[in-house]
Amino acid sequence: MTNIQNMKPVKKTYNRRSFLKSSALSGGGFLLSIGWLSSGQRSAFKSTDNQTITNLPSNWNELNGFIKITADNVIKIMSPNPEGGQGVKTSMPMIVAEELDVNWKNVIVEQADLDTKHFTRQFIGGSQAIHQGWKPLRTAGATARQMLREAAATQWQVPVDEVSTELGILYHKKSGKSAKYGEMASAASRIPIPKEVKLKDVKDFKIIGKSKSNVDIEKIVTGKPLFGIDTQKEGMLIAMIIHPPAMGLKFKAIQNEDVVKKMKGIKDVFPIKIFNEGYEKTFFDTLNFNEVVAVVGNSTWEVMKAKKALKIDWEPIQSSTENRNMLGRKLTVKIPSGLESSTEHTEKLAEMLKKPLNVLRKDGDPETAFKNATKIIERTYTGPFLAHNCMEPMNFYAYVTDEKAELAGPLQKPEFTEQALSARLGMPLDKIDIQITRLGGGFGKRSYAHWLLEAALISQKVKAPVKLIYSREDDMTSGIYRPAYSATYRAALDANNDLIGFHVKAVGIPESPLFPNRFPAGAVDNYLAEDFTIDSNITVGSYRAPRSNFIAAAEQSFLDEVAEATGKDPIEFRLDLLKKAKEKPVGKTNDYDPARYAGVLELVREKSGWEQAKTTRKLGVSAYYCHDSYAAHVLDIEVKNGEPIVKNVCCAIDCGIVVNPDTAKNMAEGAVIDGIGVALFGKMTFTKGVPDKNNFHTYRMIRMNEAPKKIDVHFVQNNIDPSGMGEPAYPPVFGALANALYKATGKRFYQQPFMDFMG
C-alpha cells in the first residue's frame, strides 16, 4: 500500500535541533517522525518537479526541524501547517528553500504531523500562515545554509566568509573547491546553531515571487490517497453518527438498538457524550449537540443502511449556560431552549436594530451631525446563516487504547483539538498523536473538531481503529454555521454633500459582525459604531473571513449608495475618504493603512478601465481590508432572463511580497467565484429548529456555468512582508456584485442571497 496514512505512526523523538521554538521565533521549528521514510514501503520519492528520486533515502541529516539533507544530496523541507487548498504546503517550503539557497526542483516537501512541543501556530486560520511564518521560515533556511558554510569552511580550512553558495552547492572560489550540500550535511548537523544569521535582500530572491506548482498536484490528478477520508488501516471499522434532527433537541433513548445491532455488518450502536460536564470549553470547542448516537460497522454502506433503520427518541433541551475560555477571555454563553425558526430570527434582528446597542466606538458628535444633516441615508442589510459545505465531508480516523491515541484527518487547529481530546480522554498530550492529512476544504469549519472527539470516543468504546464519516446530510445539518447578521447604516451629508456623520449598528445571531475600527472609521469626524448579539441555540463558527464576509458586503454596498447621493464616482468617493484618513485621521485606532487601501482602488480603477467603461457597462466596485491584506474588485455584469452573468472581474490585491504568484492568483479567482456563489445563492434557514437544507439539491452552490467568464488578478508590487491570501479577496466580492447588479437592474440588493430578490 502506498497510503502514507496506512503507516503506523512512529513515536517522535526530539533533540537540540528543534531549536526554533526555544529561540522564540513564532511559527518555529519542529521535528517529526521520519520512520516511515525508511520503512521500505514507498518505492520512490518525487521531487517538486515530479522527477523520481530512486535510492530511498534513509540517513537524513537534520539541520533543523524544517530541513533534512542526505549525504547523496536529497533535500527535504517540512511543511508545518495543514494544507486546505490555500497553497501553504508549497509556499511555506518555498520560503525555506529561498534562504537555504537550493534548486527548488530538487526539493522534496513533506507534511508535518502536529508537534506542539516544537512548533507554534501550526494551524490554518486568519490567513496568517505566510504572514506569521515569513521570518521563522526564512531564518530556518538561512540558519541551515550558514551551518553548511561553516562545515565547508572547517573542512577546507578557509574563512567562512569566503564560502559562498549557489543552488545547493558550496563554493570556495579562491581555491576552486566546491561541494554539494549533501556532502557537508553530516558535518553541518553537528555544528552549533548560529545565534544570528543574515537574511537575503528581497532583490536577490530566486524562488519567492516565481510561480511554483502545487507540490501535491500529481497526487491529486491521479487520485492518490491524500485526504482524511481516504484513510485505510488494518482492522479499521467505519462509524457514522446520528445527531438530533433539530437544534434545540437532545438525545433521549434508542428504541430499537437490538434490531439494528443484528443488521449485517453492524458491530455496535451506542450513544456518546462528547464533552464531559463541567469542562470549560475553549475557543474552538463547539457548543454543538453534545450527545449523539454512533453506529459502527464493517463498511460505509452497511452503516448508512443501519442509520436509516435506527429509531431514536429526542427531547427538548433546557436553557443552559456554558463557561468558555476564549484564548484567555472568560465568558459565559447562554443557550436558550426552544425550536427556532428563521422567520423569528428575521423579526428579532429587525427589532433589535431599532434599539440603542452597545457602543464600541464613538468619534466626535454623531448625534449633532445627524441633527444638522441636509440629507440622511439609512439602509439595512441582512445576511443569512450559511453552511460551509467543504467538498470533503467531516471525518476523522482514531485508534484509542488505554496507552495511547492515534488520530489522522483533516483539521485546521490540531493543537487546540489535541488539548480538548486530552481533557476528554484524561490522557496526557504526549500519548496523543495527530497526523495531519490534506483538507478537502476548510473555510473555517475544520477549526472545530467534535468529529475528532467523536471518532476517538467511538474507537475507545469498540476497542478498534475507526474511521468516522459524516454523510453530506450530517455535515450540512449538524450546526456550526456562519452566523445570521443584520446591520443598519446611516450617513449624514451636509449641504456640500460632504459626509459629516456615519453610524453603523450591527446585530448577529449569536455573534456580532462589527469591526468598529475599520474603514470608514478614521475618515469621518462624527462616527458611531454599535452592536449586539442575540442568543440562539443555532451553533456557529468561523466561516471564510469571519464577520468581514458580511460586514464588507453591507458597508461596501452602502458606500456605493452614499457616493451616488453625493454625486461622486464611487472610487473617487472612497479615495477622498482614504485621503482624509491618511492626512487627518480621526480617532486613535484605525485598523487599516489608508495608503495601501487607496493603492488597490487605484490599481483596480486603472486595470479595469473603469473610467472608460463605467458609463457604458454595468460595473460594480468594492474594496476591503482584512487579515492584513487589501483587495479591490470591479465586476462587469449583465442580466439576462433574470439571471446575472458576470462577464469579467478585475481584482487588485496588496498582500505585500507575493510568495507564489500563480497560487495567489488561484486564491483570488476562487474567492471571487465562491463569493459570487454565496452572495447569489447561499443560505441556511430553519423551521422549528430543523435545518431546511440538507444536501446540494436544496443548498444551491455556484457551478461552472454561473462562474464569471474571465477573472484578471493584479498585485500591487512592493517589498512589504507578505500577508495572507486565503480570505482577504473574499469579502469585497459581495459588495462589488451588489453594486454591479444595481447598475444592471436599477435595484439595490440589501438582503442575501441576492437571487431571492432578483424578481
Partner: protein, 151 residues
C-alpha cells in the same frame, strides 16, 4: 449478498457484497481505490464521477448490481503517473486548490472530450456543471479542458 466480477480499469475484480451497495463504496471500502470521492451521495456534486463504458456516471448512485458486464474506469485507471492528456493539462494549469473534487472533475472532462474533442465554452459548461468545486477553480478547469482538447 451476491458475487460480482467487476471489470475495473481493465482488470476483473471480485466482490461479494450487498447488491444495493453503490459503486462508490465498492471502490472505496472494498477495493481500496480511494481516488473516487464521496461528496453528496445523491448525484448532485460529481465528486464520485467514474466512467461506465466510457460515459460519465455518478458512482454514489449506481448500485453494484446495475453494472453487469459494463467496464468501469476510475481516476486510477486514467494513468499511473498523471500522463493522460487531461491530467497533464490539470498539472499545467495548476488547477487544484484543496483538490478534493478534482478527480471527479477530471473524469467528467475526459468523458466530455471523448464525445466532443473540440468543445466550445458552452459545451464545457454543459458537461461540467454537474461537478461542484467549493474552492472555485472553474475557470482553470475550463482552461485545462481547452488545453487538453488541443492534444
Amino acid at each position: 449478498m451476491a458475487k460480482y466480477n467487476l471489470k475495473i480499469n481493465g482488470k476483473i475484480r471480485k466482490v461479494d457484497i450487498d447488491p444495493s451497495t453503490p459503486m462508490l463504496w465498492v471502490l472505496r471500502d472494498h477495493l481500496d481505490m480511494p481516488g473516487t470521492k464521496y461528496g453528496c451521495g445523491m448525484a448532485q456534486c460529481g465528486a464520485c464521477t467514474v466512467h461506465l463504458d466510457g460515459t460519465a456516471v455518478r458512482s454514489c448512485s449506481l448500485p453494484v448490481s446495475a453494472i453487469g458486464k459494463g467496464a468501469i474506469t476510475t481516476i486510477e485507471g486514467l494513468s499511473e503517473n498523471g500522463t493522460h492528456p487531461v491530467q497533464k493539462a490539470w498539472i499545467e494549469h495548476d488547477v487544484a486548490q484543496c483538490g478534493y473534487c478534482q478527480s471527479g472533475q477530471i473524469m467528467s472532462a475526459v468523458a466530455l472530450l471523448k464525445e466532443n474533442p473540440k468543445p466550445t465554452d458552452a459545451d464545457i459548461d454543459n458537461a461540467m456543471s454537474g461537478n461542484i468545486c467549493r474552492c472555485g477553480t472553474y475557470l482553470r478547469i475550463k482552461e485545462a479542458i481547452k488545453t487538453a482538447s488541443k492534444n
